[in-house]
């Protein structure tokens, strides 16, 4: 079985490992690195529970070979805010009741980060289409949309303050 040495940055930390060709990135993150915030839902790139950021872009990590991430900069749900603090999207999902069971939430948040980076002031329709690859079986999506709207406002304020 072919092994490959890979080095990538995950949540700011450099990680080096020897991996099989066929190891999926979601398994590497959950099983090798013990970071279980990234979930496995459908395992067929439909549900988005495994969404992470690779070089700032949302990707379904169940459909990505670990070996292809060599040299990449990866962010998972564990890496979006310092311990004890919430990212504006995490805070908004809390404030707006954007989750019931919470299984889809990490993926929803990682996808929404990419959405708001690309489009800081999305319309409701753009939010709904923007998270169309992330399935939630509990909320009916209304409170998720409200959460993303609240976070968009908060993040716009933060950007203004830093400028």
């Amino acid at each position: 079985m072919a092994k490959h040495k890979v080095t990538m940055t995950i949540n700011g930390q450099s990680v080096t490992a020897e991996v099989d060709s066929r190891l999926l990135l979601v398994h590497f993150i959950r099983e090798n690195l013990d970071m279980t915030g990234t979930h496995i839902g459908c395992d067929t790139s439909s549900c988005g529970a495994c969404t992470i950021l690779i070089d700032g872009k949302s990707v379904k990590s169940c459909t990505y070979l670990t070996v292809r991430a060599d040299g990449a900069n990866i962010t998972t749900i564990e890496g979006i805010a310092a311990d004890g603090t919430n990212h504006p999207l995490q805070q908004a999902f809390h404030d707006q009741h954007g989750l019931h069971c919470g299984f889809c939430t990490p993926g929803m948040i990682m996808r929404s980060i990419d959405l708001l980076n690309t489009n800081p002031n999305p319309t409701e329709k753009e939010i709904r289409w923007g998270i169309s690859g992330n399935l939630c079986r509990c909320t009916g999506y209304n409170n998720i949309v409200k959460s993303v709207q609240q976070a968009a406002k908060e993040m716009a304020k933060e950007t203004k303050e830093t400028v």
Binding site: S21, V59, D114, S132, N134
Partner: protein
């Protein structure tokens, strides 16, 4: 689900990729975005012994007009196509299609070259390429070749690409004045393959006579299909409501859909008629703007 064992190889240049493919033989498959091939490998529908990763090859990601052509590099992702201002301004048919292709995270990975090279009539880009009369540029052991789109799709997952060939560029005749295109597909849910889809591109002269027209159909035949009878009827005429009605009927008659989870054969023929008429009207509207 975990793919069967294979050996991964990364190519950093076209030359290296083609040499690897020659060396490893027919059990090697190229992977670009990996969002068609890897799902098939996880389901063990595909069990290649070697994967040659071509996604890191430099210089195959671009969208530009050059000479008489719009040229798109094969590794350009669907997301890059979606946000490109040249395509937004002059080739809105791409925006129509990409908006309906999979979902944003998949589009961050999936490439236009992969969408076409996969040779799947359920993908959206093949119908666009037929409507736009694209030429496919590929590189292989024998050098560069240029394949007209009408000779590209051979069968279910089969194309004119020989083992070792890499699709490198898509060339589309540059948008002329009084031209317009449109695409729509009916899907059961966001991100699904088409129940049926229609791509139309047409060019009018100053008197409103249709000079050129392409109509491509998605997921209603084993091989991506051109609606030849519809094109022939409209070429050289001023397009009227009656003619559009007739082409809608041709689409419903000439397509070869099969009943499946997405709908019955009769339903697919029925929606094809409707989408074809709508897309002809939308393309006409855009051409007249």
């Amino acid at each position: 689900m975990i793919p069967a064992n294979f050996t991964y190889h990364k190519a950093t240049s076209l030359k290296e990729a083609i040499a690897l493919s020659e060396e490893l033989g027919e059990e090697a498959k190229y992977m670009s975005g990996g969002h068609s091939l890897l799902p098939m490998m996880k389901l063990r529908f595909a069990t290649p012994e070697h994967i040659i990763d071509i996604s890191k090859i430099d210089g195959l990601s671009y969208i530009k007009e050059e000479g008489d052509y719009l040229k798109i590099g094969a590794l350009t992702t669907q997301t890059e196509l979606e946000h490109n201002s040249l395509l937004k301004d002059k080739y809105p048919i791409f925006g129509d299609a990409i908006w309906l292709t999979a979902d944003p995270s998949v589009r961050n990975c999936g490439t236009i070259g992969g969408n076409i090279a996969h040779g799947d009539a359920a993908n959206d880009q093949p119908a666009l390429m037929l409507a736009l009369r694209a030429t496919i540029i590929a590189h292989g052991a024998d050098g560069e070749k240029s394949i007209p789109i009408d000779e590209f799709f051979h069968g279910f997952y089969m194309t004119a690409l020989e083992p070792g060939d890499i699709l490198t560029e898509i060339q589309i005749p540059k948008s002329k004045k009084n031209s317009g295109g449109a695409y729509h597909k009916v899907e059961r849910k966001v991100g699904d393959y088409a129940t049926a889809g229609v791509a139309v591109h047409l060019e009018l002269d100053d008197d409103g006579v249709c000079q050129e027209i392409g109509i491509g159909l998605t997921n209603v035949s084993a091989v991506p299909m051109r609606l030849e009878r519809g094109e022939e009827l409209l070429r050289g005429k001023v397009i009227t409501d009656d003619l559009i009605e007739q082409v809608g009927v041709f689409a419903s008659e000439d397509a070869e859909p099969e009943s499946d989870l997405r709908g019955s054969e009769a339903y697919k023929r029925s929606i094809l008629k409707t989408i074809t008429k709508r897309m002809l009207n939308k393309a006409l509207e855009r051409a007249r703007q």
